[in-house]
Amino acid sequence: MLSSFLIAVIAMCGLATFLALLMVIADLTVGNYGEVKITINDETEMTVEGGKPLLSTLMGEKLFIPSACGGRGSCGFCKVKVVSDIGDYVATELPWITEEEKKENIRLSCQIKVKKDLAIRIPEELFNVKEYRTRVERIRDLTYDIKEVTLKLIDPSEIKFRAGQYIQFQTPEYELSSESVYRAYSCSSVPSRKDIVELEIRLVPNGICTTYVFEHIKEGDEVTINGPYGEFFLRDTDAEIVFIAGGSGMAPIKSILLDMAEKGIDRKATYFFGARTTRDLFLLDEMRELEKRLPRFSFVPALSAPAEEDKWSGESGLITEVLDRHLKDGNHLEAYLCGSPGMIDASVEVLTKKGLQEELIFYDKFA
C-alpha cells in the first residue's frame, strides 16, 4: 500500500518536473525571438531583442513615443503606423483605433509585440525626444492647488523645445503607485532657458503624479523627464491672436508669451484667463510685466464666481461669456487654447460663431 502511494507520488513529481522542463524549453525556443530589426521611416534601422512590446523596446533604444499610462493601453497616445505585417489587432487596441486608422494600420505600440522584423513610421520630431535627469530646483505655490516646479537639467544639461510643447514627468514607485508612471505637463518656461524646465501642476484628486508632486517631492530631489512633445506652438503668421486658458492651462501660454517678448514678436494678442475667485488667479504680476514688454498684448483675467471680499472690478462670468462680449469679428484671428475639454469645446463654439475658421484654432486639451 505504502509502496503504491510512493510510486504515485514519484510519478506525479516526475510528470511535474517534465512539464516544467517543457515550459523552460518552450520559453527559450518559442518565446525567444532573438534579434529583430526595426526600420523606422525607411531610414533608421535598429537591432533589438525580440519579444517585448514595441513601446518599451523603442524606449530601451532611447526613442520615446508619447504615452501617459506607462504601456497599459489606457491612454491611447502611443500610436505608430506599422508598414510591415504584424498580425491582427488585439482586443485592447480596438477601443482606441478609428476605422480610418485601421485602414492605415495605425497600432498602439504598447500592445503589439516585436516578434519579427518590423517597419514603422513615426513623426520625425520624435527623434528629438530625449530622456533627461533633472534636479528639482524650486517648488512654489501659485495657488492653493497649483504648484510651479522648476527642474534644473543634469544630463543632458540642455533641452531644445518650442514654446507651447510638453514633457512627460516620471513619477517613481511610491505609496500610491506600485510602478513608475508618466504624466504629460506643458513647459511654462521660455525655450531660451535651455538648462531648466518649469512646469505648472494642478492637484488632481487621487492623481498619482500630482499627489507625488504635492506631497512627496522636495527641492533637491532628482526627477526624470522626457520630451519635448506636441504640436501646440505659435504659428508663424501675422494674424491677431486670442489666447484662452484656465488653471494650469496657463503654462504653455506663458511660455509662448515669454518667447514672443524675447523675440520681439509684436502681434496684437489678447489673453483671456478664466478662474473662479481671486484665490484661483496667479502670475498676475508676470502678465502685467508682459503687457509692458509686448505693447500690443493685453491680459484679461475673468472670474466666474468672485467672492464679495474679492472686491473684483475686472471681468466677471464664465470665460466663454467674457469671450463672447469681447470678440466682435473672429475672421482675422488665430486662437490658442489650453485647458479642460469642457472649456475648450465651449470656447471653440464661441470662436467659430464669431467667424473664426476652425483650422485656425489650436488647442491642447487635457484629455
Partner: protein
C-alpha cells in the same frame, strides 16, 4: 450566490495592472459577487436603486460641467468641479466603449463634505451596481454617496 466563470474573468480584469495600475478592488479579497451583493443590500436598505444613484451623479456632473473645469455653485448647496485628465478606460465588465478620465468633485457645503467620482464610476454604479472594492483609492461608499449627493428614496 456562486460566482460564475464569467464573473471570474471580470474579476481578473479588475486586478492591478490590467486596466488600471491599482485595479478596482483595493485590498478587498472577496469574490466580486460578494462585493456586489453587499453593496446591493446597502443600497436597498436605503430604499434606493443603483440607477437612481447613477442618475443623480450624472445630473450633478452635467451641472458642474458648466464651470468649464473650475468649481461652480449649483443649487441648493453644492460646489462642483468637473476635471478631465488625459486618458480613457474600458469597462472591466466588458461593455462597449471607453470612458474618459473625468473626475467630478461634489462639495456639499451644507454638510461640509465632498465626494469625487469618475465617468467610469457612473457607468459601473448604474449598469453593474459596482462601487469598487474596499481599500480601493476610488471606492465609493453607497451610504456616503446618498448622503453627500442628497439622494432620497422615490416615494410612490
Amino acid at each position: 450566490m456562486k460566482q460564475t466563470v464569467q464573473m471570474d474573468r471580470i474579476q481578473e480584469k479588475m486586478q492591478p495592472g490590467v486596466y488600471t495600475r491599482d485595479g478596482f478592488l483595493g485590498t478587498d479579497r472577496r469574490k466580486l459577487i460578494d462585493i456586489l451583493i453587499e453593496d446591493d443590500e446597502a443600497v436597498k436598505r436605503m430604499d434606493l436603486t443603483h440607477r437612481q444613484i447613477a442618475d443623480r451623479m450624472i445630473g450633478l456632473r452635467d451641472a458642474g460641467m458648466r464651470g468649464l473645469g473650475e468649481f461652480i455653485n449649483v443649487e441648493p448647496h453644492y460646489e462642483i468641479r468637473v476635471i478631465s485628465v488625459r486618458g480613457k478606460l474600458p469597462c472591466p465588465f466588458g461593455d462597449p466603449g471607453i470612458f474618459p478620465k473625468t473626475n467630478t468633485v461634489v462639495r456639499n457645503t451644507k454638510l461640509d463634505r465632498e465626494v469625487t467620482f469618475t465617468d467610469m464610476h457612473i457607468h459601473m454604479v448604474g449598469s453593474h451596481g459596482f462601487y469598487e472594492g474596499k481599500g480601493s483609492p476610488f471606492r465609493l461608499e453607497p451610504a456616503e454617496l446618498a448622503e453627500v449627493l442628497d439622494i432620497e428614496p422615490i416615494r410612490e
